[in-house]
């Protein structure tokens, strides 16, 4: 009886497989792909990125497309899961045969799929911030997000200016926090600070008073929190509850209005390094990015009725850079796009001014960040 069952199973599987193979479409479009964490824990990155990419796609097509052809951005959701990211990357490369890929949103997923791009020789422009993505430099892999090292450096420079010596870190135990924690563990002693405490909290934890109490006992001059919403907001609230007055730095991972909304009054006075996007209106008129940033903000808010975040900006930068590379190369061949990407200099994106070289596939510097402070429920440029 198992035989018959197997035959039926065979038939079902076969039917499923046959349904799966759909014909490819006509070739009057240029297809680029995107692997983004639109759902799952990293959705706060992936969703604005996806929205922005589709916005850029429409804008490019409205302006006549690329190289006379229509631009199509195929977005796959990896659900913040590395397995799904691998599947999505394979699908883009093998099934959709895209010429370049933007994303993934998270460092872990980027690291997980990078090698497929080296193998199949398709350029990948990651939206994630880990240094490991571009160091060592892979021939086909680029990134548009400012590095954790840049953010940490910016915080430490500010701490040095204020004469703070003993620093405590409190980081989230996921890929984002781990990456920041590693950089801080390296930079804090290297720049002459003392690491007073090094605590961790879980991505889903809802109370961090235990960690803060422990930090309080170590009596640091400042606390650096490395994580993404909602963790740092909870920490800000717990800090207020415990009456801790030690200055608190948070990282760029919370650079959206949502953080202030969640932390409420506890957010007042907190400092963080952030892309210029969230303080675009406070930039001096002379800043070359100001017009672009305000333009992006206005368009995004009009289309999606939601506040912008710097992460959405990575979506803007990655797709725009790929388009720019195709235009300068006058070709939509993967090889040509890669070579052109590597030659881009002084390109103004939302995260800063991009300059790529064969040795530097990140293209940004510490300058991509400005220090920002929360004042009266809004971001305020510090310098």
């Amino acid at each position: 009886m198992k035989v018959r069952f197997t035959v039926v199973l065979a038939a079902v599987l076969m039917a499923v497989l046959l349904c799966a193979g759909r014909p490819a479409q006509a070739e009057d479009t240029i297809k680029i792909g995107a692997v983004l964490s639109v759902t799952g824990p990293a959705a706060f990155l992936g969703e604005p990125e996806k929205n922005t990419m589709l916005m850029v796609q429409d804008a490019v097509n409205a302006a006549g497309g690329v190289l006379g052809k229509k631009l199509e951005v195929i977005v796959y959701d990896d659900e913040s899961d590395v397995n799904k990211a691998v599947l999505s990357a394979q699908k883009l490369i093998k099934k959709d045969k895209v010429v370049a890929v933007a994303g993934p949103s998270t460092s872990g997923n980027s690291l997980g799929i990078m090698k497929f791009f080296e193998e199949s020789q398709v350029p990948l422009v990651s939206c994630a911030a880990s240094e490991k993505i571009v160091n060592p430099v892979g021939k086909w892999v680029f990134s548009v997000a400012p590095l954790d090292r840049h953010a940490a450096g910016k915080i430490l420079a500010d701490a040095a200016k204020k004469g703070l010596k003993k620093l405590a870190i409190l980081s989230v135990s996921d890929g984002f926090g781990q990456s920041g924690r590693a950089v801080l563990q390296e930079l804090i002693p290297a720049k002459g600070f003392v690491l007073a405490a090094d605590e961790v909290y879980g991505p889903k934890d809802t109370d961090m008073t235990a960690q803060l109490t422990k930090i309080k006992e170590a009596a640091p001059d400042a606390i650096i929190v490395w994580g993404t919403n909602p963790g740092p907001a909870v920490i800000a609230r717990n800090r207020e509850q415990l009456g801790i007055t030690t200055p608190l730095y948070v990282c760029h991972g919370v650079a959206s209005k949502k953080f202030i909304e969640l932390a409420g009054s506890a957010a007042e006075g907190l400092m963080l390094p952030a892309g210029r996007l969230i303080v675009a209106d406070q930039l001096p008129e002379a800043n070359p990015l100001k017009k672009l940033l305000l333009d992006y903000t206005a368009k995004y808010q009009a289309r999606y009725n939601a506040p912008v975040s710097t992460f959405g900006g990575h979506g803007w930068d990655s797709v725009s850079l790929i388009v720019k590379a195709m235009e300068t190369a006058k070709s939509a061949k993967p090889e040509a796009i890669r070579n052109a990407l590597e030659k881009i200099t002084g390109y103004a994106g939302t995260a800063g001014v991009f300059t790529y070289t064969p040795e530097n596939h990140n293209g940004l510097s510490e300058d991509a960040f400005v220090m920002v402070k929360v004042e009266k429920g809004d971001w305020r440029l510090m310098e």
């Binding site: 889903k204 809802t206 207020e240 969640l262």
Partner: protein
């Protein structure tokens, strides 16, 4: 050892622990009437918090009304789940029912994401944000609300089970479904009722927790997990065990974070839980099941 730090760890542990305990209470009610672990229990907590936030936002209701309506809405959701997903599979093996509840929890989470988006939301604290100082440690007024409401709910459950006919009938179902149905107790109605009650408990929990823990469409996963652990720790089927199990788990985590390593605090709590199970396979307050042969 610093006394005020220790006290702070305890307060922090009790606050977190009561969130686990509240989730665990709901597990217990459904376990008692059906013998299954309801993996969608965490979603009830989520629904309670999210409904409260949105009743406040949509209708501009005062917080008390929002919480009340949220509890009501979640109760209806609980009843719908029982009717649409649990009742059609009655008679199936427990593992099938558990898979159904997993399906339900995925479904509810998906629906919540679709309707409310992926953002995190905060609910204002019921009586202000001013911390209360206790011997050098600080406590939020909301923590008192959580502890108080948890105790009140426990007392209400106790009264329900020992003084009302419905409660006694439900208890009868938990001991022997067949006998209960022979005694004229509508077992199906009891199951429905148990889903509604545990949805209510979850929702109230979710609402009073939201000011402390914040809420989003996916908070249910972790609460479900920790609630289940609390249930087992206390001994399945015993509401007091469940509540206490939650508190113990919370305090263990907090002490682990404070005195050992914050990175391994959850591992620490679970290692102790396993060790306890190896010594006392029926949990802290569970009855040893004696099966006649």
């Amino acid at each position: 050892m610093n006394i005020s730090s220790l006290l702070q760890y305890l307060i922090s542990g009790l606050t977190t622990g009561s969130t686990y305990g509240l989730a665990a209470l709901g597990f217990t009610i459904i376990f008692n009437s059906t013998g299954i672990i309801n993996f969608a229990q965490g979603e009830f907590v989520m629904l309670g918090g999210m409904f409260s936030v949105f009743f406040m936002k949509w209708f501009g209701l005062p917080i008390a009304w929002a919480v009340l309506l949220a509890a009501l809405a979640t109760m209806i959701a609980g009843a719908l789940i029982e009717r649409l997903a649990i009742r059609p599979v009655k008679g199936a093996s427990p593992i099938n029912l558990v898979i159904v509840t997993i399906g339900v929890s995925i479904f509810i989470r998906g629906l919540a994401m679709l309707v409310w988006g992926k953002d995190t939301y905060a609910l204002p604290a019921f009586s202000g944000d001013k911390p209360i100082a206790v011997l050098g440690a600080a406590m939020m007024p909301q923590s008192l609300w959580v502890l108080g409401v948890s105790l009140a709910m426990l007392a209400a459950l106790k009264a329900f089970f020992s003084h009302t006919i419905q409660g006694k009938a439900m208890l009868a179902c938990s001991f022997d479904r067949k006998a209960a149905s022979l005694m004229g107790i509508g077992v199906e109605r009891m199951v429905l009722l148990s889903f509604m009650i545990s949805a209510l408990i979850g929702a109230v929990g979710g609402a009073i927790l939201a000011p402390i823990t914040l809420t989003s469409f996916d908070v249910g996963v972790l609460l479900g997990l920790k609630g289940f652990a609390a249930c087992i720790l206390g001994g399945l089927g015993n509401p007091f065990g469940a509540a206490l199990g939650g508190l113990v788990l919370g305090v263990l985590e907090s002490l682990g974070a404070g005195y050992l390593s914050s990175a391994y605090k959850d591992a620490f709590a679970f290692i102790l839980l396993l060790a306890l199970l190896f010594v006392r396979p029926q949990g802290l307050f569970g009855r040893k099941s004696v099966k006649r042969v």
